[in-house]
Every structure is written in C-alpha cells, then in structure tokens.
Symmetry: C2
Subunit: 368 residues, 2 copies
DNA sequence: GTGAAAGCGCTAACAA
DNA sequence: TTGTTAGCGCTTTCAC
C-alpha cells in the first residue's frame, strides 16, 4: 500500500496529484496525459508512471467543457425493437466504439414531437453529432437547427429534401421494383402492397376517395413512399395500369398490418401475392393469411423487405430484400465523424446495395 | 429581432447573460434556474423571462462537474439484436427518459473483456449508474469495484452471488420446469433441451465424458443453468432419472443451435420434443427440424423461452414462456434510480413473473 | 433574499 | 520544453 500523503483516499486522482507525484507542473502533466503539445520523453514517462501508480483517470466532463467535444453520438431511431433498427443500432454502436465514441440512444416511435424532444435532450448533453432516422422528412426544423448550430446530423434510412445533411440509405425504389418483378415473373397479376407510413393521411380529397385506394401522406420523400413508387413502376412496366387497387397503407399506431391484409383477402378478387414493406408488416401478413386458412406460397405468395432471423427459419423460408443493416449504421457513423472532425465537403448521400434473397415464399398464383 | 448588445450572436447564452438581462446577480439567476435556495417571486420571474428571451439552455456538462451527477445511465447487454435484449433495452430507455435520464448503450456479445471495457468507458463518462446483464456471474470484480466506488449497479436477467447489487430477474427454474411439464403432459418422454451458455465448458472431467452428455460451465448461476435445472427437475419429477441424454448446450460463438439440434435428431432414438432456452435457439431448432423434413408439432413438439413477434405469426404458432421484457428493464431503472438518489437499503432482488402462452407447437409424440 | 468570491478538473495561451 | 495564468459555465458557501 502506497501512502499518498497529499490525497485523501476516497477522492480520485486528478492532474495536480499526478503532476506532484511526477514532479512536474500541471500543464506538463496535462500535455503528457492528453498527448498534445510537446513534452520531453523523460517527463512524459514520469507522468505516465505517476498516473499509473495513482490510478489516474481523466475527468472527461472537465475535458469536454474545455474542448467542446464529448465523444458521444446521439442515435435517434423509431423503435429499437424493430429488427431493422436493432441491426442499424448495433452497427452504430460498434462503429462508434471502434472510433472512440459512445452512443446515447433515443426511440421516437415515428413521432416527430418525440424526435424533437430527443434532439433537445441530446444537444443539451452536448453530443458531438446526431444520427437520425427521421420520423418525417418535412418537419426537420430541429434537425436543420442542430446542424446549423454546429451539431452535425446524418440521416439514416430516409432522406430529407432541403436539409443539407449527409444521408445513408438504400435504393428503396429500385429494390421494391425488383422484388415486385419477381412476383410478376412468377405469373402474379393481383399483387398487393401492405405498408405503414409515418404521417397521418392528408384530408380527404374527394375524387381520390375510391373504395380501394388508400390516401397517401403528403411527405414528398419517405422510405415507404419510395417503395410504393417502385411497386407501382413494376406494375406499370408489366402493363398493369391500375396500380392502386391492391395498395394498402396504414399509419403507425393506428392501423394493424394484419387488418390491412385481412381487408385485401376479403376482396371478391383477392390478391395472389403480397409485397410487405418491412419484416414486421410481413408478420402481420403471415398472421392474416393464417387466419384466412391460406397457405404460403401455394395460396398466397409473399416477399418482404428486411432479412430477419425468422425469415430463414420458418417454413416456407421467406424471400426477402435484405438491407445491409449494420453497414447502414456503420457508414452513418463514419460520415458523421468526418463531419465532426471538421470536413466541410458538400452533403454526401451514400446509397447502399440491397440484396434479393430468393427462398420459398413465392410460387405461381393458385390455378395457374 | 432583439439586439443582445453584450452577447455575440454565435455563442449560446450563459448564466451571466441571463443575470445581466434580468438585472440580478449570477447566483440569483442560478438559483432561480436550477430551482433551489430561496429567490423572491419577482426575481424568479424576471430570470425566467430573461432565460426564455435569450433561449438559455443550461450547460449540463458544467452542472455535472459540480453536482457529480450526469443523469445518464449505462446499459450493458449482450446483443441488442437479440429480441430479448432489444425489449429490455426499450424498457430501460423509456423508463429512464420518463425519470429524466438518458442511456448510453454497450453490447458485449457475452464477452467479459468487452464488458469490462464498457464499464470502464461508462464510468469515465461519469454515468450515474449501471444496468448490466452480466456476461459471467463469477468474474464481476469490475462491477463490484464500480459499485463500491459509488456507481450503483443493478443486475439484469442474471444474478451474481457475492455481488451486493440489486437484481431484476425472472424465476427461470420455475418457468423452465413448468414448460417442460407441458411437454410431459402431452405424453412426451424423450424431451431435449437446447441451450447456449456464456462460459467455455470446463476441462474434460473424464468420467463425465459420456457420449451424450455435454459438460456444463462452472458458473454457479446463469440463466441458462437455471433453466437447465428446471428442465431436469421436471424430468425427475416425471420419473425420468436420466436427465442428460437429450441435453445439448453449446457456447456462444462456437456452436450453432441448429447443429446441436441436428445431432439430436440424428440419434437412433431421437427426441420427440424440444425445449429451447431462448427465441434465437428456437429458430435454430426450427431450422434443423425443417432440414430433417420434420413437421412441428406432428413430428416434433417445441416450446421456447421468449415471446418474440414471429412466435405468434408463424404456422404453427409457437408456445412460449413469455418474459416481461420491457418491465424487466423498467424495474431495473427504478431500482437503480432509488440507489442513485441515495437509498441505502440492502440489495433487493426483484423476481418478475413469466407467463406460459399455449399455442400450437405442442402435440402428442408421433405414434402415441 | 441576494451578491461576492471561490472552485470543480481540465486545457490553452502566453511567457520564460 | 516547461511553468504560469487564465478561464470554461456552473454551483455553493458565506457574508450582508
């Protein structure tokens, strides 16, 4: 047991303690410890030894107050329980840690108010930057403000037009179009799309209120909308002009994908295939199909976004559009860190490749 | 636009700014803002208005440096991609936010070294407390040290004997025993257990090296082990003395539950039912069953821990032991916060109820 | 009830 | 290269 005369046992060692022990000034100790400025090899070593002996740990709070950097990132996603966001978050935390950053997590449940509150909290905590899967692509004032105030923002999964921030996404339109083409290639013509969108539907526009068509949100850009456009493009390409008959979109918290599917299956001419825009929706589709006594893929074909664990374990295994979830998170971290470290390049939009994985959930339509 | 003569536009407002604007001293402003000490209603209101006008936001870093409290919790789990931990983490972040705390997240992949590193990082960041699903229940020196140094720790999902920390768990033994009883009640006698355990198996003890038995880790307590004991108890209770014939445990990163199951199914007298100790293992079992051309539940019955989304959407829906995942996280947060706020009661061990949910994955054994 | 002054632990100009 | 000095923004005695 070493006796540290000048330092009460309970209190953690500070720079003055280390400096005293090493017989140098505070600044030299600080320079040696934080590794900046110039310090003689000799002094450096004595400081290192003293720090070691005293079990010195820098007070990161004090350091952050001076440097203005906390080495903490904020991650704002819809719901960590959604496998897509779980994977993305895993990618974020891993990449962050590897780069010497920690991450503060916030869930929004696709609610803009919650997102706004999260940004506020996170900024109050002085995070160095924000990774956000925005709940809405239009109401992004809080994100723009953060960005402008020097707290860089990178958008994940969704872009926001007019917000000069980096983004990391996949080609939703192309991937959706490709998936629907697979269904078309198998001979399907009555192909449904089931999705949940972030914003509430706009006011009823009268003419649009056809029995089958669901009004779409006004958000100019959203993952869901892009996938819908990809779906429509594929149908049009196949000569099917009526692209909205089997289109069903609900709102988070308000509609259940299983109900949306049940409606479709109750139609006089029900769809023979369904394209689900994410794995949780696919679960709802599966559920509804089961309740209707329909078998996949014989009675109903299915393809979905997101390759979750269960997709390859259930029977039939389900064909999916796999997104590189962890990579999405890791790329976002890298973009963000270059910004934090001062890069002033124009906004960079990274688009990652998806992969269609063919399994057993697509068959020709019944009676074909 | 108000002109703030004394404050450059770029710099955020500070207490001196607010004080000046309100015509009071810094201390009065501080007292009014942080709501302590005594301030006259009049001064209080003037300060409030000035702060509002200037868009004042307290510098939490500076405050933390003084108060020693960051209002930040550290959450250390195995893998956020595991639905169990995703749910727990969701419960943690929600409860924390509701109580005015944020959470820093760390994944360990069941690796003690990673856990140790995470604790170090988190303590360096001055978290007010730690919620840990410990990778090992024996090597807990770093947790004990944190606790002793005034950084309270609450254990989640797993207890650690000898560590005087609060814990929040479920009755794994009882729940496992109950689940296996369901299988027994359906007429099964050859019931397997498939699990993955945290620690590496101990050195070969010779006699124990029966072809069928898998050596178990030496960890005195672990979720997996408790479930195994519950399984054995149920079998013994049913008069089956040979409890380890169909017991298969692997190690994280080393074994694949599907392979473990495949071994079982290749036995001359294969099991007719499987008890999986978590949902990710159940997926492996399902996979292996499919590869063997076995149908659930006709050829093989299945019951698993954890009620994940897919368990109620696949066909057949799988019977499960549901854990109150979010509640587990929320309780941990509450225990932790009472500690942080100074409670000095003896360690408290909260045990939450599980719920057996009967679905369609259990049938009588084939040929029964 | 209020203000003056000290100080948390650290970094960063500036001199020496 | 090194030490001195001055803060960062805040809370908190301690007088008044």
């Amino acid at each position: 047991m070493t006796t540290n005369r000048s330092r009460p046992a309970g209190r953690p060692a500070t720079i003055p303690d280390v400096a005293r022990e090493a017989g140098v000034s505070r600044s030299t100790a600080s320079r040696a410890l934080a590794d900046y400025g110039s310090v003689s090899p000799d002094a450096r070593e004595r400081v290192r030894a003293a720090a070691e002996k005293l079990g010195y740990r820098p007070n990161l709070l004090a350091r952050s107050m001076i440097t203005g950097r906390t080495h903490t990132l904020g991650a704002i996603v819809a719901d960590i329980q959604n496998p897509f966001f779980a994977g993305v978050t895993r990618g974020i935390t891993d990449a962050a840690r590897a780069a010497g950053y920690q991450v503060l997590l916030a869930n929004t449940d696709e609610d803009v108010a919650a997102e706004r509150a999260a940004v506020k909290m996170l900024r109050d905590k002085h995070v160095d930057g924000l990774i956000v899967a925005p709940a809405a692509t239009t109401e992004t004032g809080h994100l723009a403000a953060a960005h402008a105030a020097g707290c860089p923002v990178v958008l994940l999964d969704r872009q926001a037009p007019g917000l000069p921030a980096d983004s990391v996404t996949v080609d939703n339109h192309g991937a959706a179009q490709d998936a629907v083409r697979r269904l078309l290639a198998a001979g399907h013509r009555r192909i449904a799309l089931v999705s949940l969108l972030g914003s509430a539907p706009p006011a009823d526009t009268g003419a649009e209120r056809a029995a089958a068509a669901t009004p779409l949100p006004t958000d100019p850009v959203s993952t869901g909308l892009e996938r819908i456009e990809g779906y429509r493009a594929a149908l049009r390409e196949a000569g099917l002009s009526d692209t909205d008959t089997y289109l069903r979109t609900g709102t988070f918290h308000r509609e259940d994908p299983a109900d949306l599917t049940a409606d479709l299956l109750a139609l006089p001419e029900p769809p023979t295939a369904v394209f689900a825009t994410d794995s949780m929706i696919a679960l709802g589709v599966l559920s509804a199909a089961r309740d209707h006594g329909l078998r996949v893929p014989d009675d109903l074909s299915l393809v979905t976004f997101d390759d979750t664990d269960w997709a390859r374990a259930v029977r039939p295994r389900v064909s999916v559009v796999a997104q590189p979830v962890q990579e999405l998170g890791a790329r976002a971290v890298h973009s963000l860190i270059t910004r934090i470290e001062g890069a002033t390049r124009p906004p960079e939009h990274t688009v990652l490749d998806t992969e269609y994985i063919d399994r057993e959930s697509i068959a020709p339509p019944p009676g074909a």
